[in-house]
């Protein structure tokens, strides 16, 4: 193994990507190459140093992160409240709509049931007076089950 290949394997080992069988080969090279061994020591130390640094930075940023989470939670709560408010409006909005519909139905209900068939509830009719200037008028009553008829006889035509 030459030093170039060994450097690649050292980096792979630091990243945890070096297969086990290659580790023994690399160890053999490092044992006989002080330069590569020194490079391996430096690179192997970099990982823990970076982790330590990240931890320090995280501790430094913790208050800022806490503040950010507080803001995020407040935002979530606010949007939830807004949704709750809008759903409340949606729940009650039908009332004025229903009232308007009821009023319109009452106002514009077809007053003329012009198309519905006749369904009289009674034929009880009192004829108080009846007269004609030009015809003979007869009052026909054929019983309670039949309507009373005022029959106009024009010039003995009908």
């Amino acid at each position: 193994m030459n030093c170039g290949a060994a450097l690649g394997k050292i980096e792979a080992k630091a990243d945890g990507l070096l297969p086990r069988e290659a580790e023994a080969e690399l160890a053999g090279h490092l044992a006989g190459c002080p330069a590569c061994a020194a490079e391996d020591a430096v690179i192997s130390a970099t990982g823990p140093a970076l982790r330590a640094l990240t931890g320090i930075r995280a501790m430094e940023k913790a208050p800022a992160l806490d503040a950010m989470w507080t803001r995020v939670r407040a935002g979530i709560e606010e949007s939830r409240e807004a949704r709750r408010r809008s759903s409340w409006i949606a729940r009650w909005a039908w009332i004025p709509a229903a009232v308007v519909l009821a009023v319109l139905a009452l106002l514009f209900y077809p007053a003329g049931t012009d198309r519905s068939p006749f369904h009289p509830s009674t034929f009880d009719v009192a004829v108080e007076d009846v007269e004609s200037d030009v015809a003979t008028v007869a009052l026909v009553d054929k019983g309670e089950d039949l309507p009373r008829v005022i029959w106009i006889i024009e010039d003995a035509k009908t």
Binding site: R91, F118, P120, D133, L146, V149, I153
Partner: protein, 154 residues
């Protein structure tokens, strides 16, 4: 997810029905002073044997009362009139019917009716009937038969 408050929904329904009841309660007081007059003009003749289905339950009664074989509804009009308010109905054959609700008590309706053929007064009558009741006025000639007016009031 917040669940809808069932008490709110029940309250809304109660409010809606209360409003509806208020509206409906307001209508009869108005309706008590008005009479809905319905006038159907039927052409009765011996041309054919058809009976207009629009005549409803009256079909059989017309058939049993008169000797015509065909009954056809030519026109039907309905008008809401206040007591003392005259309403004019145009009838087939350039005839007119003028009716005026008169004061009446309870569920009774009194109508003053005048049917004219141009300047000629064919009929002047005053009838009293219950709301939902009906009277027939027939006889004026029309084409090959006669006109029968179905007058009902509610």
């Amino acid at each position: 997810m917040p669940r809808p408050d069932p008490r709110g929904r029940a309250g809304a329904s109660a409010l809606f029905f209360l409003l509806l009841l208020l509206l409906l309660a307001a209508v009869p007081s108005e309706a008590a002073n008005t009479v809905s007059v319905d006038v159907g003009a039927v052409y009765a003749s011996n041309e054919g044997t058809s009976i207009d289905p629009a005549l409803g339950t009256i079909r059989g009664k017309l058939h049993s009362m008169f000797n015509y074989t065909s009954y056809r509804m030519l026109d039907r009009k309905r008008r809401s009139l206040s007591v003392g308010e005259a309403g004019e109905f145009e009838l087939p054959g350039r005839r007119t019917m003028r009716t005026t609700p008169l004061p009446a008590q309870g569920d009774k309706v009194r109508l003053s009716i005048q049917i004219s053929d141009g300047p000629r007064k064919l009929l002047t009558t005053t009838i009293g009937l219950r709301r939902g009741g009906m009277v027939l006025v027939g006889g004026p000639s029309h084409q090959a038969g006669v006109l029968i007016l179905i007058i009902s009031a509610e």
